[in-house]
């Protein structure tokens, strides 16, 4: 699926909830079902700076597509990162770099987070973009089309 389609799917899912508490419940469920990251990947390098809770994000490339795994010690943060992973997993670096992230506002996530969490969200997105850029450049060096 394309990034836009997945985002629309998420918007639809969130529109089913009236109360923010229910949306949180959903985020918490997502957090609980986030696939386990390989413990070896929870390195200092993979730790995202700027989050109050600790978040690790790892990224690998397969056949020109990016795959992310992550973990956090806070469950709501895990839920948020699992949304981001759902959107960006299996996408091309260039598509990620050019994606529009307004769905986060549409579902109201940004304004419903505490300021420290909202900063954390920005840091997570930045890290995803950094990985994408790094892999894009690496891909180019290997003579691949990008």
């Amino acid at each position: 699926m394309e990034i836009k389609e997945i985002q629309n799917e998420i918007i639809e899912e969130f529109s089913a909830f009236d109360e923010w508490l229910d949306k949180y419940e959903y985020l918490i469920d997502l957090g609980k079902t986030l696939p386990q990251i390989d413990e070896k990947k929870k390195t200092e390098d993979n730790l995202i700076k700027g989050c109050q809770s600790r978040v690790w994000l790892d990224c690998r490339m397969e056949d020109g597509l990016l795959y992310f795994t992550a973990d956090s010690d806070a469950i709501i943060t895990k839920g948020i990162i699992s949304l981001l992973i759902r959107v960006f997993n299996g996408q091309k670096p260039d598509d990620i770099l050019h994606s529009d992230l307004s769905f986060l506002e549409t579902i109201g996530l940004k304004e419903n987070l505490s300021p420290t969490r909202a900063n954390g969200l920005v840091s997570m997105i930045k890290q995803i973009m950094n990985y994408s850029l790094a892999y894009k450049e690496k891909g180019c060096q290997n003579g691949r089309e990008c």
Binding site: W20, Q52, S53, D73, A74, I75, T77, T116, R117
Partner: protein, 408 residues
Amino acid sequence: MASVISDIRAQFPALNERVYGKKLVYFDNAATSQRLKAVTDLQSKLSVTANANIHRAVHSLSSKATEVYESAREAAAGFISAPGRENVVITSGTTSAINTVAHGFARAILKKGDKVLISEAEHHSNIVSWQLACDMSGAKISVIPVEESGELSLSRVESMLDCNVKILAVAHVSNVLGIENPIAEIISLAHSRNVPVLIDGAQGIVHKQVNVRALDCDFYAFSTHKLYGPTGVGILYGKKEWLDKLPPMLGGGDMVETVTFSKTTFAPVPLKFEAGTPNFLSAAAMTPALEFAAEIRKNKEVIAHESALMEKMEFCLGQIPGLHLAGACSDSRIPLYSFSIDGIHPEDAAQILDKMGVAVRSGLMCAEPIVKKYSEKGLTRVSLLPYNTEEEIDIFADALSKTIKMLS
């Protein structure tokens, strides 16, 4: 609810706020208390009737402003039983009060090889200001460990008071542990070794009667925004001989006697430490807050209500499986409780509680060392004032159980 408590609540309009359509339960009082209506009323009145710069002009508005500002200083002196107005420096808060002393010590007292003694359970204001002072002077910080129970043991304090210690700076009550330190004993111990003592009273003053003369402390610092009063205002009490000895941290404005390009002489204390235009209207508006605090702490019904709140809160927290309180419950506690819950991140808990209308604090609480001693991930804190009610504790306890269920 006793009628005295509903009368008290009626003086705090903020307590009727609703968040996300729910009744607000405000349990983050240790960070900032709600503001007494008489304070906001006075602030808005003075901004019309007395808004002119203090201590300077000869015109009537300026005299009025100076008068209300100086009478607030008198009120603060009375509130802590200070000998006089010259012992009371009006600052922007506890942080600037402590920094003023630390800076003065760095410039006038501390030398290489000297020590500043603080406890493990200090707020960053009472850590970082001394680190800066040590950077400037070459002195070093020594840290008195606190017991697992959260108590500061006098024998430990005694064992660390060696001849290199030039000042001891400790909290009256830690903003994480909520346990009153035996400051009277600590002060007399320190004085027996000729070591002056600064008390960070940001939390202590809110729940305990403070008499700086009886305590004999050399400095006592607090903020009025935690005490039903205005933000941006704090008090530094200091013994006259110390305030005279320490150089000012900031220069400019009205803190001088004469200024020439070759030499400036400073105004007498306390004005020596009040450079620039102070936050004078807010400072003037602290008076009703101090009067209110002094009055309710004498009221037997209020005292009984506060004990009932504590008993209930301790019971509720005790019912929750996997909840660990930082520090023991004891007679020296104020209604402030920090805790961790197995498997639950404090940020998550605070965020869900917020959506249920309950305001609590979470994280490192500007006291990273002591918080991390109890939990790497941080703690969740509830802190109450006499305007809180048992019904609010019920709402909180119910919300906390639901939160834990959601998060586990």
